[in-house]
Subunit: 219 residues, 2 copies
């Protein structure tokens, strides 16, 4: 598959814009563990994940991390080009969690096109809204509902009661136990899975990192 099949608004570009992107497009293979973007220091450009996995997180002064979201195949990474919008006033770190192949559209090239093309600007808007929504979800769950704590506590209790790290339990059951909704529990469990805390499989939740789960519970 080539870049034009990955970039959703390719057909909305004029010939000149297509040529500009094609000429400046960089393909890069990066190894697992590579820091792709480091706060305000970098303004690499728009990244399109061809294959692999990226993690976007924020880092406190004390070195604590919070994962904001992950990007998978065909996802577009906007915050690695945060310099193109002066109103983005926060810094994130982006790291390859797997060996990853990327296309990079240099920031200045993307900006030239976005300034002129309504479809590209609107596509960028949807990207930002989507990441904004991820962050709002995370904030609501953690700040208010302490849902991360409550799910961690519940799973640790179950594990202690059953004497095993392999829990045969549905998301629905967890939701009922802690007064939430199945969809919400599923999303939080997937977040835990992404963090390497649990492994999800059909009708089963396996606790992989008991210590990590305890840290969340006791935070």
């Amino acid at each position: 598959m080539s870049f034009d099949t990955y970039f959703p608004v390719w057909d909305k570009l004029n010939t000149e814009q297509k040529e500009l992107i094609s000429k400046s497009l960089i393909t890069q293979r990066i190894e697992k563990g590579t820091i792709v973007h480091n706060g305000a220091l970098d303004c690499t450009g728009l990244l399109l994940v061809k294959s692999g996995q990226l993690r976007t997180y924020i880092l406190s002064d004390e070195g604590r991390e919070i994962t904001l979201y992950r990007l998978f195949d065909m996802d577009m990474c906007l915050l690695s080009a945060s310099c193109i919008m002066r109103s983005i006033q926060f810094e994130v770190t982006i790291e390859a969690e797997k060996d990853t192949t990327l296309w990079i559209i240099p920031a200045e090239i993307y900006k030239i096109i976005m300034d002129k093309s309504a479809p590209v600007a609107n596509y960028t808007n949807e990207l930002m809204a989507s990441r904004f929504s991820d962050v709002m979800w995370l904030m609501e769950q953690i700040m208010w509902k302490s849902l991360d704590k409550r799910v961690a506590m519940f799973l640790l209790e179950e594990s202690s009661i059953e004497g095993t790290n392999e829990l045969k339990i549905t998301h629905e059951t967890i939701a009922n136990h802690i007064g939430s909704h199945r969809e919400v529990i599923t999303r939080m469990l997937r977040y835990f899975q992404g963090e390497g805390l649990v492994k999800l499989s059909r009708g089963k939740i396996t606790i992989l990192d008991e210590k990590g789960m305890e840290e969340i519970r006791d935070a």
Copy 2:
């Protein structure tokens, strides 16, 4: 002052687009306390604050609120038109904190123009990035640094030591006491002031709502 002097990309619109907005523009006066936008129920449109003050907040199932940001004269409110972007997957409430005069561009009209106009789409992008940044700031401060708690605790202690609610203390001093930066403390104090917890004046911080401050400290 008329609408075109308030709307930053007015000059970038073509005649047809200007007419479309002018024809559909609604001017509304609303009283303090009015809910201007209520989560997914509404999709009023883009609001431009002519004069007054709006507060955007999220509401938990238990009825707790967190203020995300405020809008003042000449500010544009995007999330009241969240239906125009399918990727906005969260809900906010917007309330008039003072008697407010608004211009409203109906959501469907704004969408028609944004779809065609790169300047309007890019302006919308900057608006969203700006609100996204507000939320990131809030999340970082509250989740990690518990800066709200630490500032509240410090001010309450000082007040108790000095035997007065009128503290003669600089933001710099507070920053030094709790290991932060002056700019960060100033921003948090302004947030407190917006919430009616303190009043800021030259070289002085007055605690207005001791109970509210204690609630933050003990949260």
